[in-house]
Subunit: 214 residues, 4 copies
Amino acid sequence: MKTRDRIIQASLQLFNENGERSTTTNHIAAHLGMSPGNLYYHFRNKEDIIRSIFTLYENHLESAFQPYTPQQLDVEVLISYFDAIFYTMWQFRFMYANLVDILGRDEALKQRYLKVQTRVQTHATELLTQLCRDGFLCVAPDKISRLADSIRMMVSFWISYQLTQSDGSGITKATLYEGVLRVLMIFNGYATSNSANTFARLEQHYSALALRPQ
Amino acid sequence: MKTRDRIIQASLQLFNENGERSTTTNHIAAHLGMSPGNLYYHFRNKEDIIRSIFTLYENHLESAFQPYTPQQLDVEVLISYFDAIFYTMWQFRFMYANLVDILGRDEALKQRYLKVQTRVQTHATELLTQLCRDGFLCVAPDKISRLADSIRMMVSFWISYQLTQSDGSGITKATLYEGVLRVLMIFNGYATSNSANTFARLEQHYSALALRPQ
Amino acid sequence: MKTRDRIIQASLQLFNENGERSTTTNHIAAHLGMSPGNLYYHFRNKEDIIRSIFTLYENHLESAFQPYTPQQLDVEVLISYFDAIFYTMWQFRFMYANLVDILGRDEALKQRYLKVQTRVQTHATELLTQLCRDGFLCVAPDKISRLADSIRMMVSFWISYQLTQSDGSGITKATLYEGVLRVLMIFNGYATSNSANTFARLEQHYSALALRPQ
Amino acid sequence: MKTRDRIIQASLQLFNENGERSTTTNHIAAHLGMSPGNLYYHFRNKEDIIRSIFTLYENHLESAFQPYTPQQLDVEVLISYFDAIFYTMWQFRFMYANLVDILGRDEALKQRYLKVQTRVQTHATELLTQLCRDGFLCVAPDKISRLADSIRMMVSFWISYQLTQSDGSGITKATLYEGVLRVLMIFNGYATSNSANTFARLEQHYSALALRPQ
DNA sequence: TATGAATGAGCATTCATTCAT
DNA sequence: AATGAATGAATGCTCATTCAT
């Protein structure tokens, strides 16, 4: 792996584990057994590292929430979407835990965040429309967009919510699968008789993951 | 006012205006025309100041969300609750903007937060039950608790959400009245024919406030 | 001596001995056996220290180059002026050695420099006029100002000139007395028969000092 | 052009434009689209680059200030000398702006500077003698050397002086033509009736250049 | 010749906190 | 109660230079 990518990966890991605020650039360099100078050879400053991680986030969102091709729809497709939700939360959990702080310090990043969230909203709306059309969900057309928005808000603040509500020390995969289940619960409210069975299986699937110890 | 209280008030003001992170203890002391040593005579450390502010928060919540006495119910009562929601968000907005950060640094404070939130949840549930009983709302008994929870979550993260979504520089009273309106909108979904008129007047009331310039 | 003044004096000393560029704030603090934090308690930053030294420079120039009272004029008065020239060069030699650099980094300081130099020019002109009137010098009235200017330029760049011309390691008092002698030489060109003797004695006085080993 | 020369030219340009201090070796390499490693293949270190630029300076001085052949003397010859003064100041202005700093860091370079300045002094003296002999100037023989010295000092510190005196942002060609005019003014003081006209034309020539916008 | 990743000592500055008075 | 000088560990970042390829 290239040094630049190693720095990004190590930073992401340390940010997720110890928080972005308390992870210093010297920390990251030391963790990689490299000099701080080399880190600054590859990145202009700490903000630049965060922005590069944000690019990963953008790319992931972009690819994960594309509408599916017509013939594809079955449990696997839905699982891929819910897995993507989980993966996003888990992979970038430091960001969700400090969104206000991180975006508050970097106006350019905030603009990028707004942009990508707008796209996510669009894609999510399309996805829900498709699921309605294919008889998996039953949502009034004028409420689809609001549903997508609710889901986005839930996903965006699930980690913050958990960090303020649970007395545990940190976020585990199980915590995030709980979040996935909450989203599923919202879907369940709009399930059709066709999809009830599928959703039951999905719930079983993620319940099992939510119970797994770290 | 006693020195101790002056410190609390000044800290609250500065935290709200400039953020807790960038408000130093020397800053607070200077703002009060007092020595940092004196500040540390009255408080063990910065955390101690935040804890004292948190006590104000607890007291406010405790007194504001008590069930009303039977004969009272009219528009004024509802306004008093919604005003209390607004007041809480406005008065302690620095906390809402940094909840994860603040609670993450102080486990004892987190425990107090959990406790007070549990009480708020209880009181809110009782309140909703009362409003149903008095024919103002129509919510299935087993859904009342979940409704209270949704409202709490909306209030808790409205400020964070606004700080990440809007590209404006900061939180204004109008922003928070928008939040109050969102909560009202949820209530509206459960309004009875008796209360429809009342809710319309409430909406008018807060819409006007949300439009007022800073 | 107050800590603030001790910092100024130590900084001045270290700047003069080792150059301003290579004298770090930690250096200064260590030299005084104090923490860097304390240094920054008394001064906002390094620039602030330099500005405070510059205030000393301003005050010195202001007091040293006042016109003399009529009855005063004798050798002692002239010696006091030439001594002031020497003292200024010696006391603030780091500044003269790095004028371009120091003023180039701090526009506000440059403005103060321009202002004080304008005042020095005025005072020097008045002084020369007085000396002419008292029969010590004979300069055409329209050339007095230009003479003052030449002297100022000579004093301002004597140290720089010496640092580029001599292969010795540094500036000594003797070097600066040489500079004083050069200025005296200019005066000599305008001496009257009344003052010739006085100037001869002055030259002897400073020649002796210029020959003294460090 | 050879890589080595390209490095020298780029360094000279960047030093003149942005100052030697704030022009890093990586800067120079990037400006040339080359790796820092390659730069260090051609030069041992930054000092080595400066020394190579200094060689250009030496060569220029050596060739520009040679006595003229007897039959040549007319306005053109004088213009060529004054143009050479201008060219030297303009081409190597970063050096004049930081002479103390640059020579203070490199004792060997200082020795070369002393040597070349001695030669310049000699040549300038010869030149003035020739001009006297040819009836263009009238200077007492024992004062010729001192006149040459004064001119050298004026040229050497004109840029430094301007950088400390003007509140403008930087050195322009006009600034340096002003310097040339100052030198001309000194010559004027020793002009003969034969040369008065010539000097007037020279003054006109350089005044026009000094007034030209950048 | 040339690349470009890597080094590492060093710097100005911050801030919660302490403590003698 | 109050002062205010003092602490010191920590932080993000720079840049001339090296060296394996």
